[in-house]
């Protein structure tokens, strides 16, 4: 890549934003927090995967999905299935009537592992499934909807229905899915205890690195022509279509990408929190994830990460001190962001904080130059 290409991919401002975020995630947070808080941040950051995907889908592509929890959940479930099988050794489950299968299957009179669980004995297959299953699911929905030009509000409502179908299905088929409890009590990954403090540190950093990989890819998409086409499409879909683009393919792509990001987040969630449950698949978490994105600024991938962190941090601390007020605050946040700050934290930064920093920086630089001047007086004057 030539220097110019790099510049185009990552303008100076974006580079600074990426670096600052890297410092926050990889240095500041781990230094400032104990492992309990850090693990919490790690959990929040798994939602950031979804939010970043939503920036591309919704902010850029204009596709508002109210079912991102489906993909988060599917990714998380794929991971959880592997971990559950690993922890369901005949020794650990000796108390069951059929030892060696996950506990909830035993409770539901299932005596052997169902076929679709079989691939999850293998970690590589499970990891592939984490990415592939949600993406294919998104692809099917995407083809069905976008090829027929279903968009906007209708798409939002249908994704919502999909989320509710999947929730009922997971809860109803509890013998295969763990039902409303989810898949719980996950302990080890290839023998490595994921509940220990050291594992939590490692997982936090793995999570951070994966998030940055996703962010960099998202940045690449943003800055590629594809990013501009998405913007163009959102504004003038017909114009793009009559410029010779198959618009639906672009929508499908970005929807699948969002799904894949969410799935990675879901898998990391399972690893860090130690269980997966249908409460992430439903409508409420899916809409909450949209608000993370909206608070961060629906056009800013970095903003989405901060948005996720801020909302969740507020949620945790608010609900610790004033549990009853939390919903009021959350509701007000939704309304406030939509009505007063449609471009979220990123917009706030761009319009107020950024110029201020710029000004201060210039002033600083000016005073620095003034300070340097006396040295040069001899030659210059």
């Amino acid at each position: 890549m030539s220097m110019q290409n790099i510049r185009a991919f990552m303008p100076r401002q974006d580079l600074i934003a990426f670096l600052v975020l890297a410092v926050v995630i990889f240095i500041a947070m781990p230094l400032a927090m104990d492992i309990f808080r850090l693990n919490l941040v790690g959990k929040y950051l798994t939602y950031a995967f979804v939010a970043v995907g939503l920036v591309l889908c919704w902010g850029y592509g204009g596709i508002l999905s109210l079912g991102q929890g489906v993909f988060f959940g599917l990714g998380g479930y794929c991971m959880a299935m592997f971990l559950k099988l690993e922890s369901s050794t005949p020794e650990a489950t000796a108390i069951q009537s059929t030892p060696g299968i996950p506990d909830f299957m035993d409770w539901n009179q299932i005596t052997e592992i169902p076929w679709f669980w079989e691939p999850f004995h293998s970690l590589p297959l499970a990891l592939i499934a984490v990415l592939i299953v949600p993406t294919i699911f998104a692809y099917i929905i995407g083809v069905a909807m976008f090829k027929r030009r279903v968009g906007g509000v209708y798409f939002a409502i249908i994704t919502q229905a999909v989320a509710s179908i999947l929730t009922i299905l997971i809860i109803g088929q509890q013998g295969y899915t763990g039902g409303v409890n989810g898949i719980t009590d996950l302990r080890t990954l290839l023998g490595w205890d994921i509940r220990s403090d050291s594992a939590k540190y490692v997982l936090y950093f793995v999570n951070g690195i994966l998030l940055f990989a996703c962010l960099l890819f998202a940045q690449y998409v943003r800055k590629s022509k594809l990013g501009r086409i998405l913007l163009a499409m959102r504004e003038r879909e017909d114009r793009v279509r009559f410029t010779g683009y198959d618009v639906s393919n672009f929508k499908i792509f970005v929807f699948c990408l969002g799904a894949a990001f969410s799935a990675i987040g879901g898998a990391m969630f399972t690893l860090q929190v130690g269980f997966m449950s249908p409460s992430f698949v439903g409508i409420v978490p899916s809409i909450e994830m949209v608000i993370f994105c909206a608070v961060g600024g629906r056009m800013s991938i970095i903003g989405a990460v901060y948005g996720t962190l801020v909302v969740n941090w507020a949620k945790t601390s608010f609900s610790e001190s004033f549990p009853e007020l939390w919903l009021f605050a959350m509701g007000a946040l939704f309304i406030g962001v939509v009505m007063a700050f449609p471009s979220g934290l990123a917009g706030l930064y761009r319009n107020h904080v950024g110029p201020f920093i710029e000004k201060s920086y210039k002033r600083l630089r000016l005073s620095y130059e003034n300070y340097r001047k006396p040295d040069n007086l001899v030659t210059s004057d």
Binding site: Q160, G331, V338
Partner: protein, 308 residues
């Protein structure tokens, strides 16, 4: 599947399931009519629709308490008053919400979705703070609670009949209002061409506010009626929202008749399947079929072919 039953029983099954379906149909229509007006006519996605319904239910609860406290003699009639008050209270809240929030967002339909979701959270917490987290029991007048026996198996619940009658009355009223009155003409004019409607002297702002308030008011009546069949709690409204939207979208958002037809289709399908499958699977299958059909026919089942 049918071998377990005798012919007479089978006939009874179909009669009773048909009736159960009709009750479900009435419930769907009541839920969806308000939304069809707001979403279909104004393009606003009101995620707080369920909370407006629950407001109607709480109003009914308050009035029933009021009557049993101060006017026990008239208790058997309180329900009618409750529905009227519920209509006006939710309508007034609707008008306020339109003024404070919705009117600023007409150009951003997806954003109305998020903002009204925020509203729904606030309303939920308000109910919780005011009425407590527990469900409240709305006591009904005795005449609403019985049933009319037809045969020894088939009995027709009176509250079911009441809900059906109410649905009929409201549907007719809404039809007359939207298609036969001057107000309806104005609403449709505003929907079709806002600047033109404004130019010919229709007060578009007022029309919007009334339309939104009307939709909310109907939600209030629905909530009031639901105290007969469902629960009244702070979060009960959320249960309805997905179903309601699907009914409206499935019917083709623009058409009220479509909404009614779609409510009929979905309710009959669901109640028939419920009889032969487990409740959960019936629900999943119904939703799947609806979503599947919507994918094949995104404009909804009953929408007119319109010129793009």
């Amino acid at each position: 599947m049918f071998s377990d039953y005798s012919t007479a029983e089978l006939l009874s099954i179909f009669a009773m399931q048909g009736f159960a379906g009709l009750i479900l149909f009435s419930v769907f229509v009541l839920m969806a009519l308000g939304l069809a007006i707001i979403f279909g006519q104004m393009g606003v996605i009101n995620m707080a629709h369920g909370e407006f319904m629950i407001l109607g239910a709480y109003v009914t609860y308050l009035i029933s308490n009021l009557f049993s406290e101060y006017m026990p003699a008239l208790f058997s009639m309180y329900f009618f008053l409750a529905m009227i008050v519920a209509f006006f209270v939710t309508g007034a809240l609707g008008a306020f919400v339109e003024w404070a929030m919705i009117r600023h967002l007409y150009k951003r339909p997806l954003d109305t979705l998020l903002a009204t979701w925020g509203l729904s959270l606030i309303l939920q917490q308000t109910y919780r703070t005011v009425f407590g987290a527990r469900e409240v029991g709305v006591s009904l007048p005795d005449w609403l609670m019985g049933s009319v026996p037809l045969t020894d198996i088939i009995e027709i619940p009176i509250n079911g009949l009441f809900v059906m009658g109410l649905t009929l009355i409201i549907s007719v009223a809404v039809y007359l209002l939207m298609y036969k009155s001057q107000f309806g003409g104005q609403v449709r004019a505003v929907v079709q061409n806002r600047p033109m409607a404004g130019a010919v002297g229709i007060n578009t702002e007022k029309t919007d506010r009334f339309t939104f308030a009307l939709g909310c008011g109907i939600a209030g009546i629905a909530g009031s009626a639901f105290t007969m069949v469902g629960s009244t709690g702070p979060t009960a409204g959320q249960l309805y929202i997905v179903d309601t939207f699907l009914v409206v979208v499935f019917g083709g958002a623009q058409s009220l008749l479509g909404t009614i037809a779609s409510a009929f289709t979905i309710s009959q399908a669901q109640s028939t399947m419920e009889f032969f499958l487990s409740g959960s699977m019936a629900k999943v299958l119904t939703l799947l079929v609806v979503v599947g059909i919507l994918m094949l026919r995104p404009q909804g089942l009953f929408a007119l072919k319109i010129r793009h």
